[in-house]
Symmetry: C2
Subunit: 290 residues, 2 copies
Amino acid sequence: MADTESTEAAADVRAAECEFLAAYDPRAFPPLAVTVDVVALTIRDGALQVLLVQRAEPPYQHHWALPGGFVRQLPGPKGTTIEEDLAEAAARELAEETGPRLRTAHLEQLQTYGTPGRDPRMRVVSVAYLAFAPEMPEAEPGSDAADAQWVPVASLGLTDARTDALTDTPGARQPGTSRTLAFDHARILADGLDRARSKLEYTPLATAFVTEPFTISELREVYETVWGERLHPGNFHRKVLSVPGLVDSTGDMTQSGGSRGGPRSKLYRPGDAKLLHPALLRPSREEAVR
Amino acid sequence: MADTESTEAAADVRAAECEFLAAYDPRAFPPLAVTVDVVALTIRDGALQVLLVQRAEPPYQHHWALPGGFVRQLPGPKGTTIEEDLAEAAARELAEETGPRLRTAHLEQLQTYGTPGRDPRMRVVSVAYLAFAPEMPEAEPGSDAADAQWVPVASLGLTDARTDALTDTPGARQPGTSRTLAFDHARILADGLDRARSKLEYTPLATAFVTEPFTISELREVYETVWGERLHPGNFHRKVLSVPGLVDSTGDMTQSGGSRGGPRSKLYRPGDAKLLHPALLRPSREEAVR
DNA sequence: CGAATAGTGTCTGTAAGACACTATTCC
DNA sequence: GGAATAGTGTCTTACAGACACTATTCG
């Protein structure tokens, strides 16, 4: 029964460890590495951008890849080791490429990728994380990367019609960035984009892409940019205000109107809702995908 | 950059070192293991049940735990090794406790748990999977378990009011099963239940819990059991038929009416929809959780 | 002034939930 | 016959989307 457990546990740990390790053929323990990769998304210049680093070493040398790395074992007091939580490792990898100025508004686990052969060197199980941040300054390549850059996702040629739809800007496609990502990172990025688009519908995630006092129009631009679809300004406005806890009014207004004219607008801050009801559903998700 | 970086060299060295030392001292391995755990759900006796195994070895000896184990490296031709994909490992662990008769209708990755200390022996990163199956015969304990059983989730005392709501059956709480689960498996199970409840809303997941020709009422019982809420039979009926691709009529009817009376009902099979539109939303999800 | 935008009003179609009702079958 | 159930009809309310309109501000 469970009652004996607490007294047994401590004493048994050492014995169990030996027993445990002896019971398995060492060859059954493949050299297996655990890494974290981060899909960091932001909105810059009106486009959805992802943080990429350029690999300095083979394999996939010179290719762009998601920031990430091995889960570390940090040195602790008295020769012990302090082990990193997975989310901490993800936050660290992100900070290494962006500097301390990035205010990550949201960090969540995406999925884990462990198909044999996804890394040609060895078996690597990679836990992917998804991060969102408001508009950021340039990225700063960390020690292990040749370069780090925010790259418009539309320029990566993922087979996604919607992302390209709104990006007619000639300069959006940066030369040199439309190459295949390293490893299976294109897949991971695609999964991250799916997740982000989906979470805009039923969580206040969009507020993680804007800075504190924001207008309804700025929020709408987030939705339009991530979804790659134009939304009706009037209906969107009414809808956002009708969802309890999505935004709170600050009482203030912008100092001036928009650069292309129009009246000044009211300012808002994120509300306390964790789930949106009613949800803000995408207009053109192909209904009932068969 | 995951899977790479200037620590790449260090990683290779470490990997080679491990391989070499493995033959001599298993304890020289990097103290990091990858396991898969499976949250297998089914509906038995009108209750949502989860597959649990009783641990034969410490730690948590005699405690119940989710089926799972280490990701293996299988022997392949000519001394090579065939490495298991994560989903394959999950399917294998599940089959070991249920025998070949389980028809797993659905297997998807849930989340990965890697907090240091979650396993007292060593650093273990566990990739959890979520499986659904129609009503199944008794479980068969595999080699590394003392026992394996389908256990009503309501009997596990998870802090979830809804699961207990419909389970007034006196016999539902089996003596001996209302104990704490090993490791952080209670948390993993709770996450799995959340996911399952949520996916019933916008995917045809419910059809994975019933066998091929089913009635609308059987489908409704799935929703009621998983959500722990009574649904209006009439409205549910109309709603299910109104969602394109959820169910297809077989043209047949049941041979007899229900055991407590009522007319015979039409039979259906799963449709080809992958996403439900409009969705079948839970009535009493606390709206806009703050 | 003309163009663009913030914000509101109104109408229509769809869908959810409440309630009622009929027909069928078991006990 | 009485109770339970399958399936349908109808009404009310909520909400999404379309369209129109006013007021405000930029250039």
